[in-house]
Subunit: 298 residues, 4 copies
């Protein structure tokens, strides 16, 4: 099985749309900017990538174009989780064939009440068995209303082709419980920048962070400060970034993240309907928050 | 705009699979049986139809085959809700072209926190504007974690191409609130057989009921009894059916519904993974419940 | 064990306060008015009675005064549930000694995660064992975040001194599940007027209804209509009352109920802090709703 | 207004019962042991002290006895939150008169839906205005289902007699949001040992920790290590303590905490009903966890 080095910061990149279509030039423009910041790689078709709004064909083309636009020093991780096992396997294999280095697989969730440990164990095992590239579990109860138990992650961490987990709960206790039970070569990635410092201090090797779309250098700075044992400075920067991250995730969502990208020199653009773009009032509030955090000058 | 008569009982039919593929002969077999019971029509690709596990191509073919197998006296309602507005519109139009009489459109839900009234209003309006067939709203918080407000339903009920709502909360208070605010020609359908009697008594014109997959005659009997003002008898049959309905929905889910179908002479078969089939122990419990309700002889 | 006839409508009466003290004259004034409406009895120190804001001494005195002010044809049911078993038993015995005919005992709930079936079984059994008067279970997850299971209610219904349950979920499916499993002499009372019609149709013998504080005759009318088999009329009145009931429960709470009482000739007054009284804007909205329901003239 | 130094570790002490009565000798025995460990003080009548099961008279006596048994170098903080404003004020004043150094005031919660920012602002302001001793806010949604917003805490932190907050969510993001908005002299205390390290690293000055009842030295060690900048060691000890803390809080609750106390040389005893004591099976599981964490020898 291929190995993968997940130490570092990854933005779950937004998917740019122009006139309702995926806009590949704007994608390449953003990747060009991100590639100069020290990011370890990109996660494509995550929750911030509006993956649920992309057709099967769009998903393949998006991976193809992203791989082509991404320099060799960066990893491309494809979000390949679908509701059905067979569709997830097919997409994972296709993305591997198109050059993705790993696959991030969200918990199936429509029939949440039936996604018990046995069902999720069978699901992730089947996907990992059939994938030519390493699998990362993706736990994001905010969207899925399903939470993977530490016991199940421990079991899955034994699988040679399951390399780690992105946990987006922001719950450092849960990360601690995971750290206690997983295999040594199983990597923990935190899925929200608001908990980055605490998560790294607790043993996470990196993060997949919406905030890294707009503030990659600040995310990396926290990462480096913790690695260097400069906790007091890390804490200060973490506290400064919390309001920004809460804004572009919990408060204003993907539309807010895209609005912030537009303000900061990236291409953000509008989300796909039914997501509504940020209103002018919301944009004004986001701008204030960016200014206060010194990401934008007044 | 075409009109549609929704008075009656509709099973949200299960999708039969053999060797992992949609099994059209078994589908036709089931439809043949249902067609002799007095059901008003069939709902295809609802939650009990495992619609989230069907590919875009499978969905089109399933509608085509269902329309072909269904006698003229019955309606075919297609579940066409997808996460994105554009995909929902495309599927709705295709299903209309393939002969579906109406479309049941679930609330988008992945970004549940952002599916506020404005977003849902824009969504359902866009879908209804572009649909050649009547639209039914589909409210099923158990799976979507989104609940359509009475205020929004009232607004949407003004749209000439939105014909009604399937509400699966089982909450008769909510149904009453809807009855108070919607247009006179907007139809309320209850989405769970456990609340059928109460919902009909409150003004619902019919039901889309998982239970109607296995006990269509009992569902119809309750419907007729209420129409005839025989409330005491309706109540008795309702109470008798509650344990069965709870079993094939809340307790054992779609796998349990399919297991019960196999026991009762329909083709049920296995669900698609990651849904796990009912265990032998669960099947035995289901059998007991069917026997107790006199749907199956000892 | 004493028997009790729970067939009928009971308001869970509000507790009047003047200058922060329980106001017994105003209490007697309200009881005098209620006593002429046909209500079966009064529930004192329920959720609408702000029981959690009354001291141990106030509770005894309130029962004493209520019993004194209530005519013989009406029952007095005392809300005696406390968090600890011993305090509940002591209060129940004291209320019995002061003339209460039955006790309504809410599920303990602070340690909700530990209030499993075994704990609740032991609790209610101990209370019933030590009570000289019949016990009614009180299930109100909206406030307690604990829901009594049908299985547990079935067990408790065997106890000779547990006479029934007030279920305030408004969930007629749950009421149906209870109806299927409890002893024949165990009475089901619905705890919200918005579900009164559906609950009575399902087999409830009566209701403990916040709405009966302000619209006792309308609640009784629904009750009589269902008893007489006049379901269509019952439904119409039910639909008319839903907006009022939602207003004085879910939307505006106890302060709103008290404001409505003031508008309708009862003494409502202010709630105890930390509950805030209704604002002028809220009162104006409540007035509109009362006018629309023809409880108040324009 | 008196000032208070909250830097350090506080156990929210359990209340010992013998034959159903508060057992003051056992209380003094425990306090004697705790007093030799370096703990900054004791919190009495918190959630782990089963405060909801104590009568008004028991609460006064418990504070009196605790103050008498506690050496001068330790603080005594009294949990004085009741549902009503007036009862909370009365208890707070009485506890102050009995020698408590500060009061921990939980959010009122029975009418959770109405405990909005305005209601909680008025409540805490009234309590702080009338208290002779500093007030600590107590946020514990796990039990109360109410979460104090950062905005409200910021407002309340301006009050000269509100000294800090105990936040038991274990959510370091929320702690970070608080750190960003409160007054400089407002202290943040974390309310769960599983998040102690992360919380201290984020700026908390100490913790009120169930775990400190049984492992005071380990809690203090984490506290000291973080203060000394030894983050790697702090993390290791934190990870080792998480399974113990989860056991005596989330998994086995107060009964489990008391069982662990009995195993570790403190007096634990049984909880008051309706809390059930730990079963033998549960005790055996707790013992295993204590052994694995090297708090108990094999």
């Amino acid at each position: 099985m291929p190995q993968i080095d997940l130490n570092g910061i990854f933005p779950p990149i937004t998917t740019p749309f122009v006139d309702g279509n995926v806009a590949y030039d704007q994608l390449a423009f953003n990747i060009e900017k991100w590639s100069k910041t020290g990011l370890k790689g990109l996660v494509v078709m995550g929750s911030n990538g509006e993956y649920v709004y992309l057709s099967a064909a769009e998903k393949r083309k998006l991976i193809e174009k992203t791989v082509a636009a991404t320099p060799d020093h960066m990893l491309v991780i494809a979000g390949t989780g679908c509701e059905s096992t067979q569709e997830t396997i097919a997409l994972t294999r296709d993305c591997a064939g198109l050059g993705a280095h790993a696959a991030l697989v969200v918990t199936p969730h429509y029939y949440g009440g039936r996604m018990n440990e046995a069902a999720l164990l069978a699901y992730f095992t089947a996907v990992a068995d059939h994938s030519p590239i390493p699998i990362l579990l993706y736990n994001v109860p905010k969207f899925t209303h399903v939470n993977i138990s530490a016991k199940l992650v421990a079991q899955l961490s034994d699988h040679p082709n399951i390399a780690g987990i992105k946990d987006s709960t922001g719950n450092v206790i849960q990360l601690g419980e995971l750290a206690n039970v997983v295999d040594a070569d199983f990597d923990l990635l935190v899925g929200t920048a608001s908990a980055l410092f605490g998560a790294l201090a607790m043993g996470c090797v990196g993060g997949v962070l919406a905030l890294a779309n707009i503030a990659p250098r600040q995310c990396l700075k926290i990462y480096e400060l913790v690695k260097d044992g400069k906790y007091e400075e890390a804490k200060k920067l973490q506290l400064k970034m919390i309001p920004v991250n809460q804004a572009v995730t919990a408060t204003y969502g993907v539309p807010g993240l895209k609005a912030a990208m537009d303000m900061l020199g990236y291409f953000g653009g509008a989300p796909r309907p039914p997501l509504l773009p940020s209103s002018e009032k919301e944009k004004s509030e986001i701008r204030e928050i960016l200014i206060k955090a010194e990401l934008l000058s007044d």
